[in-house]
């Protein structure tokens, strides 16, 4: 740190910097009563597990899973920064337990649902663990397609969008085409591209590319176009080169819009990925679900769906976090 700092002294009492550091005291709302609903449902779940229900015996995986969730939730509850966050940790845990309990009761205890279509939680968890290596392998091939297609779309549409948005004449010339091309639902390209391109892999990458390109491009162009003129003037009076203006003023100013486009594009990419995999893949998470439903192995279908759900949630959380980090300057 610099040693040349000049102290303000007491001359400007109203303008002295506020104390730094989080200064967080003891959490205010850390009451054990918050955990009661979740705890009660968990107790019910454990009780239902101990009760001899079906021929499966004691549901070890279910109990371990429920307890594991409880440990994680308890840790997050202790560490949460605000009362709202603490409450929502408890609520989420309670809802998750309620779902597990209802699922357990409906399948293992009362056999209210067709066991072919609805495996009990214990069976599902066990199968999930058993299938995990295969699922991860499928995830790997899916992610290769997703990252290639989405990455290429991002790498191309972002600079192109910046350039087109910045040059007003080009923007006006291009916008009728983007309006038409961008609004064609990319799903309609799938059968065509699958036939045109030599391999399934290249075809699905191109489909994902098309699906991801337009939302990012359109939102980047719009973001650039809507950058407040005052910010651009601030850059101009600093005599920025076009390159610096685009990278250090226009890009950050357009970033909120770009992020919107990118998360839209990521959602499309996932949709297109699974749709393409259903059509022509021999690996991948979409393929997994499709493959086993052809064999009427609905237990594995359920496991696959849950796995996809977890993957989507993980990707969404990661991108949300990234977006929050990139846009942390917005108040």
């Amino acid at each position: 740190m610099s040693s040349t700092q000049i102290r303000a002294g007491g001359a400007h009492p109203g303008t002295r910097p506020a104390a730094l550091g989080p200064g967080r005291g003891a959490p205010a709302g850390l009451h054990w009563s918050q955990t009661l609903p979740a705890g009660a449902i968990l107790a019910g779940l454990l009780l239902a597990s101990a009760w001899p229900g079906s021929e499966e015996g004691f549901p070890l995986y279910l109990v371990l899973f429920a307890v594991g969730v409880g440990v994680v939730a308890l840790a997050r509850w202790r560490l949460a920064g605000s009362d709202v966050a603490r409450q929502s940790v408890c609520d989420v845990a309670a809802i998750l337990y309620a779902i597990l309990l209802a699922w357990q009761l409906a399948t293992a205890h009362f056999a209210a649902l067709d066991p072919m279509l609805f495996p009990p939680p214990e069976l599902t968890l066990r199968l999930f663990v058993k299938e995990l290596p295969d699922l991860l392998y499928c995830l790997r091939s899916s992610l290769i397609l997703l990252v290639s297609g989405f990455g290429a779309a991002l790498a191309l549409s972002l600079p192109l969008g910046l350039y087109v948005g910045w040059h007003t004449r080009l923007h006006h010339a291009v916008s009728p085409f983007t309006k038409i091309l961008g609004t064609i639902p990319p799903v309609v390209f799938i059968p065509y591209i699958v036939h045109v391109l030599p391999s399934f892999k290249s075809a699905s990458i191109v489909v994902i590319f098309i699906g991801a390109f337009w939302p990012i491009f359109i939102n980047t162009v719009a973001g650039v176009f809507n950058v407040p003129k005052g910010l651009i003037d601030s850059g101009r009076v600093l005599n920025l080169s076009t390159r610096k203006m685009l990278l250090r003023v226009v890009l950050p100013a357009a970033l909120p819009s770009i992020c919107t486009g990118a998360s839209l594009a990521l959602g499309f990419s996932f949709l297109l990925l699974t749709a393409a995999e259903v059509i022509g893949a021999n690996s991948g998470i979409g393929w997994y679900v499709h493959y086993f439903s052809d064999f009427a192995d609905y237990h594995r279908v359920v496991v696959g769906i849950i796995f996809i759900g977890i993957v989507v949630v993980a990707i969404t959380l990661a991108t949300e976090r990234l977006e929050r980090h990139l846009l942390r300057w917005r108040s």
């Binding site: 000049i6 109203g14 303008t15 003037d233």
Partner: protein
């Protein structure tokens, strides 16, 4: 004294809509020129023309004898808002400007310089704060520090205190005068837009009163009141009262009735 800014017979229109007509202003090095006028008379436009953000339709603007051909680092600009980049911390905003002005220096020197400049407006603790974490007055102080940091001979300020409360405004006027009067700042020429008569008289060495429709000069006043001027003492001086009365007269006279004839230059 050298002629720093020479504006000759300047006219400007926005899409055929005449905003400024026949404006002549000459400022010498070290002058503090306040542009005073009603809303919409073209004060901001005049400043943007000097900044090189707009091109004159007729007439010329010379800075240090050379015609303005675009924005440049010889002019520091402070806008009413949007001066700072919201994604950069206060310190990084200064560093960014310093990098632009002195590309040969090392980043470490820029950081140190930025800290020192923030210290001059008593904001050394705000180096790592984002603009959104600062109050409006603090933001404007950072913007002023940034304008001074690159050490331009000419400073252009468009109602920098317009959005602030009276007390903060008074503080910032003092900050600005202190910066302008320091040894390193003494040679700086300032063009300062305001529509506050008292602010103009407190700060300026010359006040240019503009009228609207189209924007033109209605009067030029040399403020020959001794410095340092204090808000309290100045208001009892007869010279101040006379200047104030004359300016208020010009400002509130219905300028569009004045027509073309007899515009004082």
């Amino acid at each position: 004294m050298t002629k720093c800014v020479e504006i000759e017979n300047l006219s400007f229109a926005y899409r055929g809509n005449l905003v400024l007509r026949g404006v002549n202003i000459t400022a010498e090095g070290g002058d503090f020129v306040c542009l005073l006028g009603p809303s919409g008379c073209g004060k901001s436009t005049l400043l943007r023309l000097i900044a090189g953000l707009e091109r004159p339709d007729a007439g010329s603007i010379l800075i240090g004898g050379a015609a303005v051909s675009g924005p440049g680092l010889d002019r520091g600009v402070v806008f009413q808002d949007y001066s700072l980049f919201p994604w950069l911390t206060a310190g990084e905003n200064l560093v960014f400007a310093l990098e632009q002005a002195f590309p040969d220096r090392r980043r470490r020197d820029h950081v140190e310089d930025a800290r020192a400049q923030l210290g001059r407006v008593h904001l050394e603790g705000a180096f790592d704060k984002l603009p959104s974490q600062l109050s409006g007055g603090m933001r404007q102080r950072v913007a002023i520090a940034r304008a001074f940091a690159t050490d331009p001979p000419l400073l252009l300020m468009d109602e920098p205190f317009g959005a602030l409360d009276a007390v903060t405004r008074a503080h910032l006027q003092e900050h600005l005068l202190a910066l302008w009067q320091t040894p390193s700042g003494a040679a700086k020429t300032v063009f300062f837009v305001t529509h506050d008569v008292d602010e103009a008289i407190l700060l300026a060495s010359t006040v240019v009163v503009l009228g609207a429709n189209p924007g033109r000069i209605r009067g030029v006043f040399d403020i020959d009141v001794a410095r340092p001027r204090s808000r309290q003492s100045i208001q009892s001086s007869p010279r101040y009262l006379a200047l104030r009365a004359a300016m208020v007269d010009l400002l509130y006279e219905r300028s569009d009735d004045a027509g073309d004839a007899g515009t004082p230059q």
